[in-house]
Symmetry: C2
Subunit: 279 residues, 2 copies
DNA sequence: AATAAATGAAAATAATTTTCATTTGGAGCA
DNA sequence: TGCTCCAAATGAAAATTATTTTCATTTATT
């Protein structure tokens, strides 16, 4: 199940001029296609009806009808972002609108995430003998959450959220360790420095950031990018933080699925150990 | 913009028998309507084509076509939860599937969240002279993140993630303070005890949990519920954690929007103070 | 029995798909 | 270079299919 819009973009170059016009038109007027009949669309693109049908078939669909249905489905999935949060909104309305932002940020992150880098990071963490995760401010909570996850798996993980401690810990890492630095801006001085130090000491370094050009990227062996469009009120980069959480969660899940019985046992042990903390 | 399915359910009773059959059929075969032509559907419902058109018009739509488009859009919004995470999935595929879980958990949370309780909690926090947030394990990261947010607003907030400290801090609260306890299960002994103590001391207590019957609810003045369907691999209640984050984010945003200039200035000051921590 | 609402068959309209003749852009060759 | 041939691409129109409208009939209600 793939996105039609993606597919159009992908196949665009292998099309003849008339079909390419259709592709262009749909990509630039995606939202306005739905009410158009095939002949309206065809004449808007200066081509015959048949070409539109062929175009739909090329996308692997039954015909124009199905294309419209699929587009409708996709648009609804994408267009939750419409609503701007307003001053008089109730808290629940804000929640609802935030949901949309979260969703679109996750979708954007999915499209920029490098699949190989992600797998590589997961494998490195799974096999490492020690994992340290650096975060400050905003990102400290994420670092802590990630460490918590990995600890439950029985891995030797630790979050370090104090810039002095980060320097100290970094300087004692070695080959076989993995260091993860989290910084939305990618420009957090202490995090970047710590990661550089880790690299010098031979550890594998992973960066999680929102910006491709950021200093933190150079200090990392593996870079994982989130994506969020910061609007006025998302000063705290809320949705990029959720994308970060989701990245760690995927890595966690990947490790659970790909590790031996021992790791599963470790999870069970954790559960058991926590049982008597509850009513 | 209302849901077609909702509308059908709502209008169902005011319809004649033939239209009601259509309503029944659509409600019980929602997913299978899309490829059907109007006459196929009509004969499946034992009625004429015209009745189907009338049915669509009654829903406020142009005709059968538009109804199908709307249904397609709605279905896609609902049916993201389909994919189970599999052992051989790549990390990115896991990410993609997690996105769906997050989305459906947020939607479920939105539907169980009590709007008044949420506004009440936000107002209590906005006006309080001191805010403490309790979390342990999983929830510690959320508590920390929330405290971080409120601190940026210039509020007197603090996360406490050590059960001794929780008891100590709780015992010193008083009227005008707000205590927030986060526990997915709602049964975390230390959190519940701390919250009880807070209540005795006169503080306003807020609980964030996934279960309506949980002990933590009784210890709270205001209860906010998340909702997540825990499947096999969501042991760590990932998606409920995201719902918790989103709740705090909504509260944060609400406060930003509803407070005076001073709070906005506080945010700006925070940004400024952090500037020289970056490259 | 009178009336209004509901309904479906069939006609009218509209949309989509198929067919097929024409065009277009090379590739091969003298 | 100019020519022929071929395959791919294209659109007009025909054929098919789907949707909508009309209107006579049925059904329920007063």
């Amino acid at each position: 199940m793939e996105s039609i819009v993606h597919k159009i973009r992908f196949l665009q170059d292998s099309m003849g001029p008339a079909e390419k016009r259709i592709a262009d038109y749909i990509l630039s007027h995606t939202g306005e296609i739905l009410p158009l009949s095939i002949s309206t669309l065809a004449s808007a693109c200066g081509c015959g009806d048949a070409t539109v049908v062929r175009f739909a078939r090329r996308l692997g669909l039954e015909g124009y009808q199905e294309m419209k249905l699929r587009l409708a489905a996709e648009l609804s999935a994408t267009s939750t972002l419409s609503a701007e949060i307003q001053r008089q909104d109730s808290c629940l309305e804000i929640f609802r609108k935030r949901m949309g932002e979260i969703q679109s940020s996750l979708a954007a992150t999915e499209s920029v995430l490098d699949p190989e880098a992600l797998d590589k990071a997961a494998k490195a963490i799974m096999r490492s003998e020690r994992i340290v995760i650096f975060g400050l401010g905003n990102s400290a909570a994420i670092a802590q959450d990630a460490a918590h996850k990995f600890l439950r798996l029985g891995l030797c993980a630790q979050s370090v959220c104090d810039n002095h401690m980060q320097a100290i810990v970094a300087s004692h890492l070695r080959r076989g360790s993995v260091a993860v630095g989290i910084s939305h801006s990618g420009a957090s001085r202490d995090i970047v420095e710590a990661l550089r130090l880790c690299k010098i000491c031979g550890a594998t370094t992973v960066a999680i950031t929102n910006y491709g050009e950021a200093p933190i990227v150079e200090a990392s062996d593996i870079a994982l990018f989130t994506k969020s469009d910061e609007t006025e009120h998302s000063i705290l980069a809320m949705s990029s933080r959720i994308a970060q959480l989701a990245i760690f969660d995927s890595i966690y899940t990947y490790i659970v699925l790909n590790s031996d019985k021992a790791a599963r046992q470790a999870i069970a042990n954790t559960e058991f150990a926590l049982q008597n903390k509850k009513y």
